[in-house]
């Protein structure tokens, strides 16, 4: 799983990071930067979904709830309590993590489909709650002060998503934590028999998946400067993150990033040329995910990877014989 390119990995990351840092110098117009920022945002959401969905094997149909919690924490702290933007961000991440921690204890006991339905209903309950509470502005949403500086948001998102990516890469691909969550995905009782504490590891993974989503939600709220329950708690956030991850390949980190870029690039082109038929996008999402599940259950990156592995092992075989 990507470990065999380990030697060049760090160099590759550094290269991508520098290239992204220089991006605002090349694309000077705000529109391109906006698209780049949103692409980064989706990469962040997809890889954070993958921590619980792909690595731990619990399909979370309520990931958008963490995004919405982060967005609303930032908005409420800024508008109702007069905080500056940057101090709200850690709290947005912390809030999402805390919610994940609290609901994780009971919810993560559930298996497969039960977990999916429970998280889905919980996310819908959060959306309804945001529609009804006074502090969130109800269905009118919240308007934040506008800060028109695309470079700032681009760099903030870049640092956040790259930081998340590197941290997750370390935890999932290099440290023992990755093996622990994967052993729980494959066989929970087996993992327990080997002396692991599944509850603890699952909650750690869940919090690890929720915190980046909350942080990204916080940035998103200040960036678009208007949030309402459908836009931050809506199904489409979770739906897109899932489709991107499955398209790219679950249980890897590069896969969801690739899936996010493919789908987001497609969406951008689609939005620009076919803005009259925006609901067609839903159909395309559905077709993409159904075809991926049917023909490429491992996703784009998983398929490439297994092809490379296959070729490598063939080469080794011929060397031996």
């Amino acid at each position: 799983m990507g470990t065999y390119i380990k030697g060049s990995t760090i160099k590759l990351f550094a290269l991508i990071f520098v290239a992204l840092l220089l991006l605002p110098l090349i694309f000077r117009n705000p529109f391109s930067l906006r698209i780049a920022t949103e692409a980064l945002m989706w990469i962040g959401l997809a890889i954070s979904w993958d921590v619980i969905g792909g690595y731990t094997g619990r399909v979370n149909f309520g990931h958008g709830a963490f995004f919405g919690i982060g967005a609303y924490i930032t908005a409420i702290l800024m508008m109702n309590w007069g905080w500056a933007f940057l101090p709200t961000l850690p709290l947005a991440g912390f809030g999402a993590g805390l919610v994940a921690f609290i609901i994780g204890f009971p919810t993560l006991r559930l298996m497969g489909a039960y977990f999916a339905i429970a998280m889905w209903s919980l996310a819908l309950a959060f959306q309804q709650l945001a529609l009804l509470m006074n502090i969130t502005g109800g269905p009118d949403g919240m308007r934040l002060p506008t800060f028109l500086n695309p470079e700032f948001f681009f760099y903030l998102m870049l640092v956040m998503v790259m930081g998340t990516f590197v941290l997750l890469w370390y935890l999932m691909e290099c440290a023992s934590f990755g093996f622990k969550v994967r052993s729980i995905r494959e066989d929970e009782s087996g993992a327990m028999a080997l002396g692991l504490n599944p509850t603890r590891i699952k909650i750690q993974a869940f919090v690890l998946s929720a915190v980046p989503a909350g942080l990204i939600g916080g940035i998103y709220a200040y960036w678009v400067s208007y949030i309402d329950p459908p836009s931050v708690f809506g199904d489409i956030i979770t739906d897109q993150a899932i489709v991107m991850t499955i398209l790219g390949g679950m249980g890897t980190l590069i896969g969801p990033a690739i899936g996010a870029v493919i789908l987001f690039a497609f969406k951008t082109v689609f939005w620009a040329y076919l803005s009259d038929y925006q609901v067609l996008y839903l159909i395309i999402l559905g077709v993409v995910i159904a075809l991926t599940v049917f023909f490429l259950p491992n996703g784009v990156w998983g398929t490439i990877n297994s092809y490379l592995d296959h070729r490598k092992s063939k080469k080794n075989d011929s060397l031996i014989s």
């Binding site: 094997g57 399909v59 149909f61 009971p106 919810t107 006991r109 559930l110 497969g112 489909a113 039960y114 999916a116 339905i117 429970a118 889905w120 209903s121 919980l122 819908l124 309950a125 309804q128 709650l129 529609l131 009804l132 199904d235 739906d239 899932i242 489709v243 499955i246 679950m250 038929y277 609901v279 067609l280 996008y281 839903l282 159909i283 395309i284 999402l285 559905g286 077709v287 993409v288 995910i289 159904a290 599940v293 049917f294 259950p297 491992n298």
Partner: protein
């Protein structure tokens, strides 16, 4: 406040009737194939629109089209089942997960198609029973029963009895029950698991779509209604216990009562929060449902 109590009870039971039929097929399909179909609400939506257009073109009573809708969607379900079966029995990946994600994709396709073709507007299917209602007055108590809702309850009872009869008395039902118990063993006993599963899926899709027509004439229909009914259907199926058919009516009546009590006594805006919170809590306390008989 007390004066409204009989109305709340009657409303709840009448609405609950329709909720039986949005969940009973789903529960059956889960019991046999262990598929969680995230598209259940979208089947209801598509069925409702088929009924709506048939009624518009022909101007005939929509309830007469119920068998047509059942047959049309039954055929779709029959041919869709092998595809879903291939997805959930693939070597790659966790079958439950793959099934969830695949039907989720189907739900997106149906929703997108519905919004593209039918637009965002809300419609209703006019039936001869739509306008009428029965008023009962006993002392200080007033009771209004819309006839259409009563028809809905009658329809639900008929469907439930027919399904029970089919499952308990016919050879096909024996095959379905055997299949739900043990797939391999039933195959050894001469049951064709693939074909039986296809028929079960056809029945499920057909019942769901047919119920859509009824929902369209009792409440309303729009292309966005799918998610709401998926949620309600999950609620009923989980509370009843996944795959435990006998629990479905009780869970459905409970849901109906929750809705009518929130509508009359509390803020109706809190209905969905209550529904989702109860669903969540029941899943945590007893994932096998209120009766502990589900999978």
């Amino acid at each position: 406040m007390l004066l409204l109590l009989p109305q709340a009870l009657v409303d709840g039971i009448l609405i609950g009737g329709v909720f039986i039929t949005i969940a009973i097929g789903f529960s059956l399909a889960f019991g046999v194939m262990h598929i969680i179909d995230l598209a259940v609400g979208e089947w209801i939506m598509l069925g409702a629109f088929l009924g709506f257009y048939l009624t518009q073109w022909t101007n005939i009573e929509p309830l007469l089209f119920l068998p047509v809708v059942f047959a049309a969607f039954g055929i779709i379900g029959y041919f869709l089942q092998p595809v879903i079966f291939r997805v959930i029995s693939g070597i790659k990946g966790d079958p439950v997960l793959m099934g969830l994600v695949f039907t989720f994709g189907l739900a997106l396709i149906f929703k997108g198609t519905g919004l593209t073709i039918f637009g965002f507007y809300s419609h209703s299917i006019p039936s001869v029973f739509s306008a009428g209602s029965i008023s009962i007055e006993i002392g200080n108590f007033y009771l209004t029963i819309p006839i259409m809702r009563f028809v809905g309850l009658a329809y639900a009872i008929i469907i439930t009895i027919m399904l029970q009869y089919l499952l308990k008395k016919s050879n096909f039902g024996l095959a379905v029950r055997a299949l739900a118990q043990n797939r391999e063993a039933s195959g050894l006993m001469g049951i064709n698991p693939k074909k039986t599963s296809s028929y079960v899926y056809a029945i499920y899709v057909g019942i769901s779509a047919m119920t859509g027509v009824l929902i369209g004439s009792i409440f309303s229909l729009s292309a966005q209604m799918g998610a709401r009914y998926t949620a309600l259907s999950f609620f009923v199926v989980v509370l009843a216990g996944m795959g435990y058919l006998a629990g479905v009516p009780w869970a459905a009546f409970l849901l109906g009562l929750i809705q009518s009590f929130f509508l009359i006594y509390f803020n109706p805006g809190y209905t969905l929060i209550a529904v989702f919170s109860i669903l969540y809590v029941v899943l945590l306390i007893s994932p096998k449902g209120l009766f502990g008989r589900g999978w």
